[in-house]
């Protein structure tokens, strides 16, 4: 049996099936869903960074017209347990203080929820929440992670420490590597705290009736939310249905089981009415989990000829006030690719997590891997300058060569495929360095400091092989396989159920292209259903650039099962051998006799009438659980050109070229879109965005006024190109691309700024590269 489509849909830039509802304003996001009798929830939040709750008085709120309920943690004593941490690394002690949907006893960061008010009206509940009187007894705010590690005061007094955990990943002989090194360089690299900042804030609509609950929530992981809602509410899992409606972006910020989800579900059960909570942006900035926030001591060793011999990173990760779903795990995700795309015999990453009185961190686009790329790529530039070797030449001489793949690297993982020199070559077809240097000279004469920076990266995604990430491996308390169910209807129309939960990636289109080719139908008759735990098999959601390589592979293989069954039916009808049946021109036919054949609709008709071969089940529907053999490792080479106004410190990105390799392209237009957004995310962090708490633990950047997402006016158009190095780990040869742009970009920008500033005596600077920081660096270099 083989599938041969004359004009395959895979590989083509089909415009998206998702778009008609989105461009006409007909999509249904969480706040667009209305149920009769709904109570609105407004949450009373702590203005204090750290305090004991002395008393809570909701009587004035309850006395208002239209206010029906007021709850604190005392009312929620029937909860089955605190909010989950799903990471238990074998042999590693992780401090895990209880974290409740409403605070119990103390508040530990600004925005920590204290009480909830429920009422008939969206506006009136906000007034009522203002009437709640909470008396706090302030405790010292712990905001400096380095000081926090040194000792008291503690975020959680009962733990007697602010240290969350220590975790290391080491491979190769580090001591020997540094002993062999003729040059050793150390830098303190700061990767500051950022927000995911999807433009749609979070929201929940919970509807409990007759012993069952339906929870609509703006999430990337409906199945995880169902599991924990059932566990914490003491309900049987089949009585809980979680639906992710249209979701307005996630970027990791919605890869979570949030207290508001549990609280809304609980409150709906308690009141017997639907309960709706819609997050404001101000809440979102304070309480939706944040990301990055690492201070790293980074050391690289090399021989004078440029051969890198050892790489050692010690990370202090400011995890905020609590562990959420995966909080302490996130820095570890970078450790696996800490050596980047280089052949380094010894690589070690030591991570220490620390509590502070800030919003918890967790996965934000790239999750650990942008930090890793940032470190190795900055250090490669620093090393090149130290050795007087061209930075691209230094990279080339240390690249893992194409013939080494699959390549076992020092960190213990096996890179599936790669051609790093190939992507750099392709990049340099777009970048004329001689021309750039001429341009740079000319502009310098005019007072404009132009610089170019590079980032050659690889990353680890397609989460994840359960044997590696599961309880016995890295310690995530879940297998991270993905599921698919492909249902061919009587008429030959197809519905695909995926356990992934797309929220902008275009998977309804990409998945339809895959299925359409295999079944010989038009992608327009393939509908992809997602984000509803009541339809299709158990699933794991969308994050970690997993949806295509893992979820798409599940779909491809489920479809293969459908094709295999269809082939048997057709072979039976045409009196041929199943292995001689192929899909060609929209028909299942015998090889060499394309005229005689059955359409999918005809095959489905037979399958559902029941006229199938003896011993075969009727129907045409298959399920697949795909547990990948290995991760996938996308890679590429990016170049960023910046102009620095040395008088004001302002940095402007004037050109950005990205060459990415995510294996075989399913829909090139979607790939470019993911790369564009990823680049903007990385530029945003490098130049504009920063979550900042002052020393009292007050959030200084709590709105979109202060948290500066770049606009169209700040960014250039991007130039993208691709190389194609298929992954051997899945049948389609694909790799993920949702995070790649972000993982590559911040290092390219940072290196470009350093390149621009070198003539001014600045040879290293950390993000965020804000005007004041750049100006200060220039001033300091003047002495």
């Amino acid at each position: 049996m083989s599938a041969t489509a004359e004009t395959p849909h895979v590989g083509r830039s089909l415009r998206r099936k998702e778009d008609p509802r989105l461009i006409t304003g007909r999509a249904r996001y969480i706040d667009d869903i209305v149920l009769p009798g709904t109570l609105w929830a407004a949450i009373v939040r702590s203005p204090e960074a750290h305090a004991t709750i002395v008393s809570i008085d909701g009587s004035a709120a309850l006395a208002r017209d239209g206010i029906h309920a007021f709850y604190t943690s005392e009312d929620m004593s029937d909860l089955g347990g605190p909010l989950p941490l799903a990471w238990a690394p074998p042999g590693v002690e992780v401090q895990n203080p209880e974290h409740w949907p409403l605070a119990r006893g103390t508040v530990n960061h600004v925005g920590d929820p204290v009480a909830v008010v429920l009422g008939d009206d969206r506006y009136a509940v906000v007034d009522a929440a203002e009437d709640v009187i909470v008396e706090y007894d302030p405790l010292p705010a712990i905001t400096d992670p380095e000081a926090a590690l040194a000792g008291a005061p503690f975020v959680h007094e009962s733990l007697g420490t602010n240290k969350v955990h220590e975790w290391s990943l080491a491979g190769g002989d580090l001591e020997a590597g540094f002993a062999e090194a003729e040059v050793t360089l150390e830098r303190r690299i700061v990767n500051h705290r950022i927000a995911g900042a999807p433009i749609e804030p979070r929201g929940v609509l919970a509807d409990y009736r007759a012993g069952a609950i339906t929870l609509w929530t703006s999430t990337q992981v409906p199945h995880f939310v169902r599991l924990f809602t059932a566990l914490l509410l003491g309900m049987s899992e089949e009585r809980v249905r979680v639906i992710a409606p249209e979701v307005g972006g996630g970027f990791g910020a919605k890869l979570q089981v949030y207290g508001e989800e549990i609280l809304s579900a609980w409150a709906s059960r308690r009141t017997g009415r639907p309960v709706k909570w819609i997050e404001t942006r101000t809440e979102n900035m304070a309480v939706t989990h944040q990301g990055r926030d690492q201070i790293a001591q980074v050391k690289i060793g090399a021989k004078r000829d440029g051969t890198v011999t050892a790489f050692h990173v010690k990370i202090l990760a400011d995890l905020g006030a609590y562990n959420m779903l995966l909080t302490p795990l996130i820095p570890s995700l970078g450790a696996f690719v800490m050596g980047g795309c280089y052949k380094i015999p010894a690589v070690q990453t030591d991570i220490t997590g620390v509590f502070t009185n800030k919003c918890p961190t967790d996965a934000i686009r790239g999750a650990g891997r942008p930090e890793a790329t940032h470190m190795i790529e900055l250090m490669m530039d620093q090393l090149a300058a130290e050795l007087g070797i061209d930075r691209l030449e230094l990279r080339r001489m240390n690249f893992i060569p194409p013939e080494d793949f699959p390549a076992a690297v020092a960190t213990g993982v096996v890179y599936d495929s790669g051609n790093y020199a190939g992507s750099l070559d392709k990049l340099m077809e777009h970048v004329d360095m001689a021309e750039f240097r001429r341009e740079q000279e000319e502009l310098r004469a005019k007072g404009v400091h132009r610089g170019i920076g590079f980032s050659t990266y690889t990353e680890i995604c397609g989460l994840a092989p359960s044997r590696i990430t599961g309880p016995a491996g890295v310690g995530v308390g879940a297998g991270l396989w993905e599921s698919a169910m492909v249902r061919v209807h009587n008429t030959g129309a197809v519905t695909v159920y995926t356990g992934t939960s797309p929220h902008g990636q275009g998977l309804e289109t990409a998945f339809a292209q895959i299925v359409a080719d295999k079944l010989g139908v038009d992608p327009q008759v393939v509908e992809v259903m997602h984000g509803d735990t009541a339809t299709g098999p158990e699933g794991r959601g969308t994050y970690g650039s997993r949806s295509l390589a893992n979820g798409g592979e599940a779909i491809a293989r489920a479809t293969d099962k459908v094709v295999a069954k269809a082939a048997k039916i057709v072979a039976h009808e045409l009196e041929a051998a199943p292995e001689d049946i192929e899909v060609r021109g929209g028909k299942f036919s015998v090889k060499g006799s394309p005229d005689k054949g059955l359409t999918l609709a005809e095959v489905a008709g037979i399958a559902y009438i029941g006229a199938v071969p003896e011993g075969m089940e009727p129907g045409l529907e298959e399920t697949m659980f795909n547990d990948p053999e290995n991760f996938v490792f996308p890679f590429g080479a990016h170049a960023c050109v910046v102009d620095v106004d040395a008088d004001t410190g302002k940095v402007k990105v004037v050109r950005y070229v990205a060459v990415d390799d995510c294996g075989n392209p399913v829909n090139p237009m979607l790939i470019d879109g993911q790369v564009h957004g990823g680049i903007a995310f990385g530029i945003g962090q490098a130049l504009y965005e920063r979550i900042h708490y002052d020393e009292d633990g007050q959030l200084v950047t709590g709105t979109f006024v202060d948290y500066a997402l770049p606009t169209a006016a700040e960014l250039p158009s991007f130039e993208t190109d691709r190389t194609v190095t298929p992954s051997p780990t899945n049948s389609m040869g694909v790799k993920g691309v949702g995070e790649a742009g972000t993982i590559a970009a911040s290092a390219a920008v940072n290196n470009a700024v350093i390149d621009a500033l070198r003539p001014l005596g600045v040879d290293f600077i950390n993000m965020p590269l804000s005007p004041m920081r750049v100006w200060q660096a220039i001033e300091e270099a003047k002495g």
Binding site: R281, Y688, M772
Partner: protein, 281 residues
């Protein structure tokens, strides 16, 4: 996101508006475009008890040339001002306010009456030595820019008075430059400098420089002005004058800019604004 409750009245005339304001007392506010007030109300940083809507009152709009100057109705939108290129630096500065949607709603009167020293127009009005006309039950009076801005978001407009129009001299033949420094184009100015220059035979006959966000009120860079007045309008004297731009200022520090950095920016931007102005003077 949700403002606190308030009472609302839509004034049918200016006198109705003034009367409503007077009756409403301290916590009554005027509502025109609402783009200074509503953002504060949504964060509950402002909670007026009464809003008097003058957004559609006839006679408070329009942009007209009168004698040696311009009369700009208080209800003129930033977009209208920005689109009237003859207004020179006023048009230029109005075109940099926030974003197109905000410029389509925000009014010049509202912006000036709000008295935010980080807003674009107050320092421009100050540099132009313009004025505003306010009307109350006791009649109408004119407030010079110098008189108007008292302190951070505090103006000399009395409760019960309505800012009805803005008057700026035409400054025909003067050159102007506006230099606004912000991180993103939609942001408020970290610092901005507005400069107008009159030159004759290559010599600076007169110069006025306004500073945005360099104190609790918009400021004039008087030392820089004095340093340039009467000097050749060349790079050297502009650079020397710009060095004086931050003299006597005590700008508030924030996350993105220390006081030192703001003073530095004022000097850099002053030089650039003067260069820009000199090029067309």
């Amino acid at each position: 996101m949700i403002p606190a409750e308030f009472d609302y009245t839509r004034a049918g005339s200016l006198s109705e508006a003034i009367q409503a304001l007077e009756q409403g007392g301290e916590d009554a506010k005027l509502l025109a475009g609402g783009h200074s007030l509503i953002p504060l109300m949504k964060l509950r940083l402002a909670a007026p008890s009464l809003l008097v809507d003058i957004g559609r009152l006839p006679g408070l709009g329009g942009i007209e040339r009168e004698n040696g100057g311009w009369r700009i109705g208080a209800l003129a939108r930033h977009a209208d001002v920005a689109g009237t290129a003859e207004l020179g630096i006023v048009a230029r500065a109005a075109g940099t306010i926030a974003d197109p949607q905000v410029r389509n709603r925000g009014t010049i009167g509202g912006s000036l009456a709000h008295g935010d020293p980080a807003s674009d127009l107050p320092a421009v009005l100050l540099a132009l030595e313009g004025s505003v006309t306010v009307q109350g039950s006791g009649g109408q009076r004119s407030l010079s820019a110098q008189e108007l801005f008292l302190d951070y978001m505090e103006t000399a407009i009395a409760p019960g008075e309505v800012l009805t129009e803005v008057r700026v001299p035409a400054l025909d033949g003067w050159g102007f430059g506006y230099q606004k420094f912000n991180r993103r184009s939609e942001d408020w100015a970290m610092v901005a400098v507005s400069a107008v220059v009159r030159a004759s035979g290559g010599v600076c006959e007169d110069v006025r420089i306004g500073l945005t966000n360099m104190g609790s009120v918009p400021l004039r860079a008087t030392a820089a002005e004095a340093a340039l007045r009467g000097k050749p309008l060349d790079g050297e004297s502009i650079a020397a004058a710009a060095e004086q731009a931050a003299e006597g200022t005590d700008p508030p520090a924030d996350l993105n800019a220390s006081a030192d950095f703001k003073r530095h920016l004022a000097r850099v931007l002053c030089g650039r604004a003067l260069q820009e102005a000199a090029a067309v003077a």
